[in-house]
């Protein structure tokens, strides 16, 4: 419809066409319609209070339809308030909404949807659906817990903060950290970023990549958002941002606001600390923990070394006591033994002397008795000999006397006188006794001696006889 083709054709004025379109549209869409679309850009003008959202419909991220809309200031306040009350988000870029609108065409301003009402529960459902999808996808990819599994540094000393320098949240965070009364020294490096709305996803993502490039310089990342109230948080349910946080090589701490409904970023972050102050305290707490370990170590060293000293000293006093007791025991035992030996010695010597004395006494006693006995025996023997001598001598004398008397007796008998007395006589011839008749002759005178007196005898006859007669 350019100017050059105006000769052969019916030429409409722009207004005519525009009015025609307006009528056609009014005819085609006589009443309000419930439409769902995504707010590409809210285009809220606070001064006028009017809002001119750009609405789109995307498929696989590609814009398939787009239209302008307007919410007049009279309605916007009410709608926005209601929306916010239900979804926890203000109307903002990127939201999917279900709205009641009149399709209108304005000659001057073109096609526009005049939004008169928005159904917040739809957006809520959409947001929830999107959030769920993000969670499921992250889980499916196995990265949901990844950041939580990052080793947390003993001391999160070097903090990369993603925040807005001028925000209350950031200043709260820095304030808590820097004015900690324990003197912990942190080093904070701010990586400024948008923290709300659609822009936050890209902005935060960018800064995360920047931090990752300088990873060695930092211990931990803190995403700090503050002052913005509860609104504008659904960017944190965004898949790409959530994933970026989830797979981030350093632990990420979030302090992005009070939300009854945790965002995915908060879920996957290493630690979700709601407020910047809490995040700061969390970090300080790590210092405390470290400090406690140190303090415990010092105390333990103190205690253990004191214990060692006490025990060793105790050992010394035990040793001292041991030596005291033991040597005393040993010495007194020896002393007892010595005294015992002394006593035994005395007793044994006395015994030996006593024994010797007894032996001597026995010998003395023997000496006292035996010689006397010997002498007595000798006396007895001597007396016996004397007696024997007397007896023997007398015996001898008696024997001799007896023998003599016996001889004398015999002699008496043989005396001639005694023979004659018994009648025998002796006849002599020539003074010789006659014993043989044969020597005699008759007539001889013989002299015969009798016991008393004698006679003269004449031989008358001789009888010769043999001797044997």
């Amino acid at each position: 419809m350019t100017q050059e083709s105006s000769e052969n054709r019916k030429i409409y004025s722009l207004l005519e066409v525009s009015l025609g379109i307006r009528n056609a549209v009014a005819e085609a869409f006589p009443s309000h319609l419930w439409i769902k679309a995504e707010i590409a850009k809210l285009n809220y003008y606070p001064k006028s209070g009017h809002c001119y959202p750009d609405l789109v419909e995307k498929q696989n991220g590609i814009v398939e339809a787009q239209i302008r809309a307007n919410i007049w200031s009279g309605q916007f306040m009410q709608i926005n308030q209601k929306f916010r009350a239900v979804t926890g988000e203000p109307l903002k870029d990127g939201l999917k909404i279900l709205f009641l609108a009149r399709i209108g065409y304005h000659e001057k301003y073109g096609m526009a949807l005049n939004i008169v009402d928005i159904e917040p529960s739809f957006t809520l459902g959409e947001m929830a659906r999107e959030k769920l999808a993000t969670i499921e996808k992250l889980k499916k990819e196995g990265v949901f817990e990844e950041n939580k599994k990052r080793p947390f540094p003993l001391l999160p000393k070097r903090i990369a903060v993603i925040s807005v320098e001028t925000s209350k949240g950031f200043s709260d965070f820095v304030n808590v950290i820097q004015t900690n009364s324990w003197g912990y020294e942190f080093s904070i490096h701010l990586f400024p970023a948008l923290l709300q709305g659609e822009g936050a996803i890209r902005s935060i993502g960018q800064q995360l990549r920047e931090i990752e490039n300088r990873m060695e310089e930092f211990d931990v990342v803190a995403i700090i958002r503050g002052g913005g109230g509860d609104v504008g948080l659904n960017a944190y349910d965004n898949y790409s941002l959530s994933k970026a946080v989830a797979v981030f090589p350093l632990p990420v701490i979030t302090g992005i606001g009070h939300s009854t409904n945790e965002t995915v970023v908060q879920m996957v972050a290493f630690a979700n600390k709601i407020t910047p102050t809490e995040a700061a305290h969390f970090l300080i707490q790590q210092f405390h923990n470290f400090s406690v370990r140190l303090k415990t170590a010092v105390e333990k060293i103190n205690r253990a070394s004191t214990k060692v000293f006490d025990e060793e000293k105790q050992k010394f006093s035990h040793l001292l006591r041991f030596f005291e007791v033991h040597t005393k025991n040993l010495l007194s035992r020896e002393a007892v033994e010595l005294n015992l030996i002394g006593k035994n010695l005395g007793r044994n010597v006395s015994y030996s002397i006593q024994e010797a004395d007894n032996r001597l006494k026995t010998l003395s006693a023997g000496l006292l008795q035996k010689p006397k006995q010997t002498l007595k025996d000798q006396q007895v023997q001597l007396r016996n000999i004397t007696r024997m001598l007397g007896i023997q001598v007398r015996q001898e004398l008696n024997n001799s006397t007896n023998k003599l008397e016996s001889l004398q007796g015999k002699l008496e008998l043989l005396k001639p006188e005694n023979v004659l007395k018994r009648g025998y006589s002796i006849t002599y011839y020539n003074n010789k006794p006659v014993t043989d008749a044969s020597v005699l002759h008759q007539g001889q005178t013989l002299h015969t001696k009798l016991h008393r007196g004698s006679v003269e005898v004449l031989v008358e006859k001789v009888n010769k006889q043999t001797k044997d007669e």
Binding site: L155, R293, V308, E312
Partner: protein, 70 residues
């Protein structure tokens, strides 16, 4: 490098402490061990209380004195 240093320092410190607690450290070595512990504690404290540059200085000094790795 810093991270490793103070972490190692803490581990060594706690090793020494548990050695002390289990009476494994002879009296002869006690002073040396406690000194070593003190050195390690200083490293750890420096991380707590000093600025990054100061910490690096302390660690550098310490490592020049005696390396942590034994």
């Amino acid at each position: 490098m810093n991270k490793i240093s103070y972490k190692e320092a803490m581990e060594k410190l706690e090793e020494i402490v548990s050695g002390l607690e289990s009476d494994e450290i002879p009296v002869d070595e006690l002073a040396a061990k406690v000194k070593e512990a003190s050195r390690l504690i200083r490293i750890c404290k420096s991380v707590l209380y000093e600025t990054e540059e100061e910490v690096n200085k302390v660690l550098k000094e310490m490592q020049e004195e005696k390396p942590l790795e034994e």
